[in-house]
Symmetry: C2
Subunit: 336 residues, 2 copies
């Protein structure tokens, strides 16, 4: 009986080792040894990302960072999903104006609203930031937060992009989805830090990006607590609370996250201060600009674009050796 | 050879089951079957907590809640740590006035600041909320966020409570530390939602409560992005950004967390709207008031106390059958 007993011991030992290692992988028995970034072509960008992740996660590396401090922040428009011909949230506001117009006959006399209803985008955009803000305020206030959340959910489930005819959530970037997963698998906490509206993003980003609402930083309007028929509600007011863009991004990061990121990803000058703030941390950091260079599969734009302009940021990125992702050459595919 | 082979099969099967179940527990092989709340006496409060946790985590329960929606919010002052004879952050501000006084000879002519320097708390408190705000603004602004964080860390490491002579972090409530752990072990995400300053709490709550800075909601001042010698800094301004108290708590929960909690814990009327907001959720919720009833081991106060008044909240809690924790009878020990 000696022979089978040794066999048992061996089998038990082997199984023990196998399961221990599986448990250390968070119980993931099928942990893939494949490339975690399959939609990224080999090259400087992919290499910079992998080297950074290895450096901050390797206990023996001088650049090791404890999991609690592995904070990565991502702009949304133009970084995680597309933003042309204009921000998708503006498309949402335009659609809302149309949906609400029956109850607002006075809009026919307002040149801005009339232009929206007549699909005259040239005139709409001629009103500049002030006009856009008016559209946002009109369509993003005057209801409870729960009601607004439902409106966003209904829109995002059905509205289609005028050029691609895809759902907007089908215009997220596949390589960035892989990057989010890759970072989280390496103990990073991933945050959105976007100029977009926080109440516009939260209803869908958890499902699409795997980012929980409390890890979304964005622009916001004021809300007010009220009792309606004995039930508490929060009313969205037509008043700006916070603009999470440019100098606002480090402010938003401080107020919401409370730690300096060690990795930051953006695509426009509006992200420059976030990257500067991240670069000013004590240890190693990863600073990445997504450069829209692919006119065929997506859009090509940078220094002259009214949406997502990348000019000062591009100069600073080149000067300081930050990672500039060339969408055309670095990405095998754009959308999922 | 049939007999040992069956033995092997049996052993393998058993081990497989053991390890699978260990893996499902997050690889925790030594998962204690002991009471997760050893500092809580058996009674209604402990039972209400355990029943709620079982109901929302049991896949077969009609009250099951997915982990992503298991949000629990905790007030800090009087709920996670003590708050008498006055908020610890006020003690911090008083200590800062003293530390900064050498550079401010003009304070000798200001009745409020002179009272602080002369330890005349009766006069200090006679200035009311306006006076306290002035002390907070003076001591919490005019430096970078990093500098302020360091000042808080130095203070919390050394300052002692005037009555107990303990470090302030030794005046956190042991039963609540166990409760935080117990909820997290059951897939809850735990948040602080406090009227206290967000920049005052964040430097130490991660170590003391296991709550990361991005899960801290609180009152805040405005901050401004600035370049100093080519380095970006955030300057704390003497201007209120947000007061996270009373009606502000549901607002803060919305702006920072973006989901309605399913469990909320407070101790004063300042927490009432947070509990109402949580109770208004669709599924099962747990609403808990910590009632300070232990004059011997801590302090006994409620309806008449200027600090941490619990009056309207106590009425509503009794009326609606919320859980009221009787510190004297429900807690075996107070501090760790």
């Amino acid at each position: 009986m000696v022979y089978p007993s040794k066999k048992i011991q061996l089998a038990l030992g082997l199984i023990f080792i196998l399961f221990i290692s599986a448990c250390q992988n968070g119980g993931n028995f099928n942990k893939s040894v494949d490339d975690p970034l399959p939609s990224w072509n080999d090259g400087d960008s992919k290499q910079a990302i992998a080297e950074f992740v290895n450096a901050v996660t390797d206990l023996n590396s001088p650049d090791y960072v404890a999991p609690a401090d592995r904070i990565a922040t991502f702009d949304n428009d133009g970084t995680l999903w597309a933003e042309q011909p204009y921000y998708f949230q503006l498309q949402f506001a335009l659609d809302r104006v149309k949906a609400m117009s029956a109850g607002h006959p006075e809009w026919q006399k307002d040149p801005l609203f009339r232009a929206v209803l007549e699909n005259d985008m040239k005139t709409v955009l001629s009103f500049g930031k002030h006009g856009l803000l008016k559209l946002i305020m009109t369509t993003h206030a005057g209801m409870t937060t729960d009601e607004f959340s439902q409106i966003v959910k209904d829109w995002i489930r059905s509205a289609k992009h005028p050029k691609t005819n895809k759902l907007y959530t089908e215009m997220v970037y596949q390589p960035m989805l892989e990057l989010l997963d890759y970072l989280r698998q390496n103990g990073f906490k991933t945050f959105i830090v976007s100029g977009g509206g926080i109440d516009f993003m939260r209803p869908w980003v958890e499902e699409v990006y795997g980012i929980a609402p409390d890890q979304v930083v964005g622009s916001s309007g004021k809300v007010e607590f009220e009792m309606r028929d004995g039930q508490p509600v929060l009313i969205k007011l037509p008043e700006i609370n916070f603009i999470d863009d440019e100098e606002g991004k480090p402010v938003g990061i401080h107020q919401y996250i409370g730690k300096k990121p060690i990795a930051a990803f953006g695509n426009s000058d509006g992200d420059l201060q976030m990257l500067q703030w991240t670069a000013a941390g004590e240890g190693k950091s990863l600073l990445v600009y997504i450069h829209h260079t692919d006119a065929e599969r997506e859009w090509a734009y940078d220094r002259e674009s009214p949406i997502g302009r990348l000019d000062k940021g591009l100069d600073e990125a080149m000067e300081r050796g930050w990672t500039i992702v060339d969408m055309k050459n670095d990405w095998k595919s754009i959308y999922p």
